[in-house]
Amino acid sequence: MKHSYIWCLMILLFVPWLLGGISVKASVNKYTITSAERLEYTIEVSSESSFSMSEPSPPSIPNFSFVNMRSSSSSSTSIVGFKRTQRISRSFVYYFMPKSEGKSKIPAQKIEIANKVYSTPEFEITVVKAVGGWQSQPSPAIDPFAAFNDPNLPWSANRIQGKTVLVARLPQHTVYRGQPLIVSYYLITDQMVRSFKLEDERDFPGYGKSIYEQPNSLEYEVVNYEGKRFQSALIKKMVLLPNEVGKLQVPRLQGTARIYEFGYLSQTLSSQEEYFEVLPLPVSNVPEGFGGAVGSFELSESINAKQINLGEAITLSLRIAGKGNFNQFANPSLESAAAQISNPLAVDRINAGIEGSRILQYTIVPSNKGVFRMPGLKFSWFDPASRSYHSYQSPQTEITVNSANVISYFSGLLEGSSPKTLRPMLSRPSYPQYRSYLHRTWYWLIVALLGLAIVISVWQAIDKKRRRSDPALYLRNKAARNLKRWLRESNEAAKRGSRDFYALAERSLARFLFEKYSIPIGLSTADKLQKLSEAGINPDLLQRCAAFFERCAKARFSPDEIQAIQISEDMLTLNQLVMSFVADPGKGEEK
């Protein structure tokens, strides 16, 4: 609670400082007036120091019409107890006339002084019927500007002297259809016209229009008008683009001038009637492809590259500069069967649509490699000065189109992300369904093959490494591995009770001896036994081996039938023999 009191006190103390000593008051002469009386709304601004402000605009009061206003300023200085106090005040009085009986509200006004906005209170005004027979004042409600004759106002109508007119001026009164015509509207006066408010612009058929120039303030210059010295200020310049032939009337402007004459008064002004003649364009010697351009133009063109890779785009720029109906002619088209060409992108630097330059950018993507001949661009226009048609034909240009490469994909990297046109649609006879390689069988088949090749390579490398590090062990292991296979063949033959068992057994044993003791397979049995003996094999084992070889030889060439049980027994003998050889390292292996 205590804090809130402190805050209130602070605010009260600082408000005058914040406002800089400026006070804004508003008042009315009466809250209830008759329909024959005049309402005076006063805004008074006062300060202890000098200030500057613009004149507040009159409030918009429903059911009241604004008649006029006056402003005044005063300053006073007083000295009290050796203290000098100055007071400067300005007052603005606005006069309104009621339109009918009833209640109306004067809205709060926002007044800006030294970048601060001050607000005035609202007022409610009641208009009652005038007492019969009592007419102390004239009734200007019918015509607000009849207040000129109000004797109660602080100025007198008979004191207003001078002339203020609004005139339209044309540089020429005859133009061709499509030729731009600039109409200038001037305020010509010998009074103190402080401002001019443009309120209406009446158009007439037969032309299009655009604003060429419209100043924000009245810039006066001295002119001679009707043989007298006047001041002239440009109100507006507009461009007319006639689209009909014949006699056409220029637009008529209407507005209110605020004239200072011991106070302000308003005067409604309208421009006078003005006409111009529009001629048709000549029908003879019209060039082919004429798109309706009328004016004076200069054309030039440029190409950004003369050598590209297939798939890249080239930009052809056509610059049309000068004065004419830029917004009324069609852009020249560029067509070629050997390239995709976009619609031109127009970059305009044109004032009021009639003077400046237009750059048309065509994006061209050649379809094939080789030499691409740029199609010719033709632009025609009618020049009103020479009263004849002119044409521009672009020179023949050849573009070299090389094969596409990977680098061409990156060609636009340095250009940044500012493409000039949208690339056109691609011509495709059909649209095949997209499937990435990752969803195709052949891709994973190749991956599998490559994986298999790598596995084989690794296995071979490991095998090679084992053989290199311990050749004897390697051979022994290899023989043992192979023996199982060979014995498997012999075993199967034995199970079948086939005589082939003996041939397979003899061959298996010979291979085993070759792989383990490097005894050539082609040697005779006697030589093999001799080699085994040299290898330091146990004599008992040697004898058993010789017996088995002999048994095999006999069985193979014996004409008698061999019993299956006999083959099984021999199979057992072979197994025992091989196991004995595996267990006997021999002399060579011991090394």
């Binding site: 493409p419 690339r423 649609m425 990435s436 990752l438 071979q460 290199r468």
Partner: protein, 236 residues
């Protein structure tokens, strides 16, 4: 009678020939055709009808299938350059642009082929290393193998990333003219930013009526689902 029937058939044929090309392409898409050129052409068609949001969406769909689709990339850049939100997009440094251009150039299929080639090269280098003469210094084959292996692993990483992003692309495009990005999933939530048609968004989360998105300049907020079109339609 015969003449009348012939006239009707003739009119139908002429009407069929003059049917909207965009409509035909959209029908192809409806029938399940996925093709980068088709998406690109649909995008151009939408642009010609003044729908910049849908145009951007289809350029993105084209690039999703083929990141090396240069016309789609250029048109996407063009539409972005004309959009009201063009200043929201980050300007990448030159080297980063080169990296992204290279990354985009290697579309999924090119990356798959590159990975295959690098796989074969890795196998060859491994074979060379394993079967190299043990009496010689193995520095060179080891170095070559390590380099090729790293390249192969990188390409496989990029390939996996590209394949995943193609299937789970989280980008979307704003298709309404002007939308407020809100702090919460309700119309009463505070406004974070104003986005315009064709803005490209990154979707973080999708709910029944709203989705949480990131604007091109990284602002995070909620948009109504009806204002957004997804590059990969979640309904499909």
């Amino acid at each position: 009678m015969k003449r009348g029937i012939l006239l009707i058939i003739g009119l139908l044929l002429i009407g069929g020939l003059g049917a909207n090309a965009l409509q035909q392409m959209l029908e192809l898409e409806e029938n399940g055709v996925r093709n980068a050129d088709l998406y690109y052409n649909i995008g151009v068609g939408y642009w010609q009808t003044g729908q910049s949001g849908m145009a951007n969406l289809y350029f993105l769909r084209s690039l999703n299938l083929n990141s090396a689709h240069k016309p789609a990339k250029e048109n996407l850049d063009y539409v972005i350059a004309l959009s009201q939100d063009k200043d929201l997009y980050p300007q990448r440094p030159f080297l980063l642009r080169i990296f992204y251009a290279s990354y985009d150039f290697m579309n999924l299929n090119r990356m798959a082929v590159l990975s295959l080639i690098l796989f074969a090269l890795t196998g060859l280098c491994l074979h060379w290393l394993l079967h190299y003469d043990p009496l010689k210094e193995r520095g060179l084959p080891t170095l070559v193998f390590v380099i090729v292996l790293l390249l192969f692993l990188s390409s496989v990483g990029f390939l996996g990333s590209k394949a995943y992003r193609q299937q789970h692309n989280n980008r979307a495009v704003l298709i309404s003219a002007r939308v407020d990005l809100r702090a919460g999933a309700s119309m009463g939530a505070a406004r974070i930013a104003v986005l315009h048609e064709a803005a490209i968004l990154r979707v973080e989360k999708r709910e029944k009526l709203w989705c949480l998105v990131h604007s091109p300049d990284g602002k995070r907020g909620w948009l109504k689902n009806e204002d957004v079109a997804w590059v990969i339609n979640p309904a499909r």
